[in-house]
């Protein structure tokens, strides 16, 4: 038996841990682009902000798209609810609310990550220290993931947290792709240019998939392969298909345990079915941007449906 409020706390705890990590990865990507200087770095930072879904918010309080301002906003600004600091605060607040549902290891890893990030991000981070800080953020979230995966009983508690992780991750991957979709569009003028290659690598890097992509596609950076890899590859842990496989798993377990299949089951199944059967050429025919916009909208709707079906509020 699990309180609706606890399910909600678990779900959002997991979403915000995932978000803290994704934010660090995005900053990492932006930083690398700014260093390579093949494009105007302000454009890149603007697109990083768009990927993070916080560009409007940024522009309300800042006007310079330089490295110092943007990284500070993404890492430390508590006015930005998705900054690393805000995310870990929200994650811990939720973890604290549901701490009796977590193993000691999981709770302590969240609490320690919170303490560590507050220590690291107490003051503005010098540009030269950024790589170390970003690594540390990713390490802390990896520790949480390790404690969670390694110690939590696979029951409803696990499932609600896992769905939070996967919905957040799917949202993140699709946003990154959507912001860069113009690079993936086959256009004669762009193909094969050095800029092109860097952009593609950026996308892969921002989802920690550059090396694994090389294993899978032998370094052949082309739009169809990249889209296939990040959308349809079920073995790639940040792809949309992978996320939906796990969401469906969790929802199936819950349906078995509770003895009832609900609207959220149908929605997730339909989405997963589409990801399983689609070919990347179909997606390009439909229009990559349209596909991703639909996906982001449906993914959010699934989150809301889960909240309704399991009485989060």
């Amino acid at each position: 038996m699990l309180l609706g409020r606890s399910a909600n706390g678990l779900y959002w705890m997991a979403r915000y841990i995932e978000r803290a990590e994704n934010m660090a990865r995005l900053v990492d990507t932006g930083l690398r682009l700014a260093l390579t200087q093949t494009s105007a770095s302000s454009d890149e930072w603007a697109s990083v902000l768009t990927s993070a879904g916080v560009r409007d918010l940024f522009e309300q309080g800042n006007d310079a798209f330089d490295t110092a301002t943007v990284t500070n906003f993404l890492l430390r600004d508590t006015a930005n609810p998705s900054s690393v600091l805000s995310s870990i605060d929200t994650a811990r607040m939720n973890a604290r609310m549901v701490r009796t549902a977590l193993t000691r290891e999981t709770w302590e890893s969240v609490n320690e990550a919170w303490m560590a990030m507050h220590r690291m991000l107490k003051r503005r981070v010098d540009e030269q220290d950024l790589p170390a800080v970003l690594d540390a953020v990713k390490r802390e979230t990896a520790l949480i993931r390790g404690a969670f995966q390694g110690t939590m009983l696979r029951n409803e508690i696990f499932d609600f947290a896992q769905m939070g992780t996967m919905i957040e991750r799917a949202d993140n991957t699709s946003r990154i792709l959507d912001v860069k979709y113009y690079v993936l569009l086959p256009s004669a003028a762009w193909v094969g240019s050095p800029l092109d290659n860097i952009q593609w690598q950026t996308i892969l890097r921002s989802v920690s998939a550059l090396r694994s992509y090389r294993w899978t596609h032998e370094g052949d950076f082309n739009p169809a392969n990249i889209a296939d890899y990040l959308i349809l590859n079920r073995r790639m842990p940040r792809s949309l298909a992978f996320c939906y496989r796990h969401i469906c798993d969790s929802l199936d377990y819950l349906a078995d345990e509770y003895g009832v299949r609900q609207r959220c089951n149908e929605m997730a199944d339909a989405k997963f079915e589409k990801l399983k059967t689609a070919a990347v050429s179909d997606i390009f025919d439909e229009g990559l941007h349209e596909f991703l916009s639909d996906f982001i909208r449906d993914n959010a709707a699934l989150g809301n449906q889960i909240a309704t079906d399991f009485r989060f509020y």
Partner: protein
């Protein structure tokens, strides 16, 4: 006068501390300091923190923990237990009485107006019989000591006594830090408190409830200063931790919203005040409680622990009558005496108190947590004058007590052991029987000479040992 030190008497360790002292003498000072640091890290990592109201800076602070245990002999403890049991019995009989026949008022043993004019007295509870007849399921009795055989009750906490999680975590921490010490000194265990609490609550389930009752802990939420304790107890008992927003009345029962719909609750261990319990009956603006829970309660379909209206026992005007109350209901003199108390509502007493402000401790009758009190000897002339004004304006609002020479127990400071004043809060569980785990929360004033042990005022805690002798 030097206060009574519980560890050392005339340059020698007192009996209960003998084994500890000989262990302590063999320890390396540096290692002990290191252990004290380890303890703090353990507390911070596990998130055993509390919030201090009005302290923006440190949203979460640790209650300082001192690694020198406070030790009570088996003999001392047995006497305390007798006194505490008698007192808690009397408290429950008193509550039953004032909410039913009011014999004690008819007998003229206590003045009517301290009941009728008391905010903590709930007219809604008149004629209501709580399941099992129990009012104070959990009581914290604050005890101070001034000499070898001199123990006094300083306060009764019948509303929502807190601190038991520290009793448990302090022991846990001590056992982690000094496992060898527990092999040398036989200390009675306290860790079965959560099981006893659960069992105690189950024993007073509503009469209409068949089978095993569903128990839940009601917290005001994670921003509450004692949230850690609420979560801790729910966890240790293996019951749900609920908030007001999780609960509603469904088909005449209180129920919690789960991922599969509403589930009935039979026993609610609530950690919110009466005022917030039911917006339909008490404060209409409360969002912490459950609309309609009082109707369910009156219908005998839920146990609320502690029962609504028990907070009146925390009132210091009532406290001043406890010797009469104990005698009235148990037919015997109180085994554990009160601290002598002047009621400022009485003109003679008020005059005395005003004249002797520099010797007395003056407290608000409804106050708690060490707020709003004057420690005469420690206050400046100006502070005393300001307090005298308040006292004259609302004498009924205050009681006064002599400044007791509280016993001390050493703490570990950077310069070695140093005596500090302590008090003791044992936790008493009432169901169809009374149970007290051997131990309690020892609070210690960390400032030299200070008599204020409240955690909100810079106090710390110690592990409390009752010896198995």
């Amino acid at each position: 006068m030097t206060p009574f030190d519980e560890m050392r008497l005339g340059g020698q360790a007192r009996d209960p501390y003998e084994d500890y002292q000989s262990w302590f003498d063999r320890q390396d000072a540096k290692r002990l300091k290191q252990k004290a640091g380890d303890a703090e890290r353990v507390f911070r990592r596990t998130g055993i923190t509390f919030a201090v109201y009005g302290d923006q800076e440190a949203a979460e602070r640790l209650i300082p923990f001192d690694i020198v245990p406070r030790i009570i002999s088996g003999k001392e403890w047995r006497r305390l237990v007798q006194g505490i049991e008698q007192r808690v019995q009397a408290l429950n009989a008193f509550l039953e009485d004032i909410y039913h026949r009011q014999e004690i008022l008819r007998a003229g043993r206590i003045p009517r107006e301290i009941i009728s004019g008391n905010e903590a007295f709930l007219p809604e509870m008149i004629g209501v019989k709580p399941p099992g007849g129990v009012y104070t399921h959990i009581t914290g009795v604050d005890i101070v000591r001034t000499g070898e055989d001199d123990f006094f009750v300083l306060e009764d906490n019948a509303r929502t006594p807190s601190g038991v999680s520290y009793m448990l975590e302090n022991r846990e921490t001590m056992m982690q830090l000094f496992p060898e010490l527990f092999q040398q000194v036989k200390v009675r265990p306290v860790e079965n408190y959560p099981q006893l609490l659960r069992d105690s609550l189950a024993r007073v389930k509503p009469e209409l409830c068949e089978g095993k009752p569903t128990i839940a802990v009601l917290t005001p939420g994670s921003f509450n200063s004692a949230y850690f304790e609420h979560a801790f107890l729910a966890d240790q008992m293996g019951v749900e931790l609920v908030e007001g927003s999780d609960l509603r009345v469904v088909d005449g029962h209180v129920a919690m919203r789960t991922t599969q719909g509403y589930r009935r609750i039979d026993v609610l261990y609530r950690r919110i005040d009466d005022d917030y319990l039911d917006p339909l009956t008490f404060r209409p603006d409360s969002v912490l409680g459950v609309p309609g829970i009082m109707d369910v309660y009156r219908a005998g379909k839920i146990t609320i622990a502690n029962a609504p209206g028990t907070g009146i026992c925390d009132d210091k005007a009532i406290y001043s009558y406890m010797p009469e109350i104990v005698e009235f209901y148990t037919g015997r003199k109180a085994i554990l005496p009160n601290v002598p108390t002047w009621r400022c509502s009485e003109p003679d007493s008020l005059a005395y108190v005003l004249e002797h402000l520099d010797e007395l401790v003056v407290k608000e009758v409804h106050g708690s947590g060490g707020y709003g009190m004057l420690v005469g000897p420690a206050a400046s002339k100006k502070e005393r004058a300001a307090f005298a004004k308040k006292l004259k304006a609302r004498p009924k609002n205050y009681i006064a007590q002599p400044t007791l020479s509280l016993s001390t127990c050493p703490i570990l400071t950077s310069k070695g052991l140093a005596p500090r004043h302590v008090d003791l809060r044992p936790f008493v569980l009432v169901s169809d029987r009374i149970r007290i785990v051997p131990g309690g929360l020892t609070r210690v004033a960390l400032k030299k000479g200070s008599l204020v042990v409240n955690s909100s005022q810079g106090g710390g805690t110690k592990d409390t040992w009752v010896l198995d002798d």
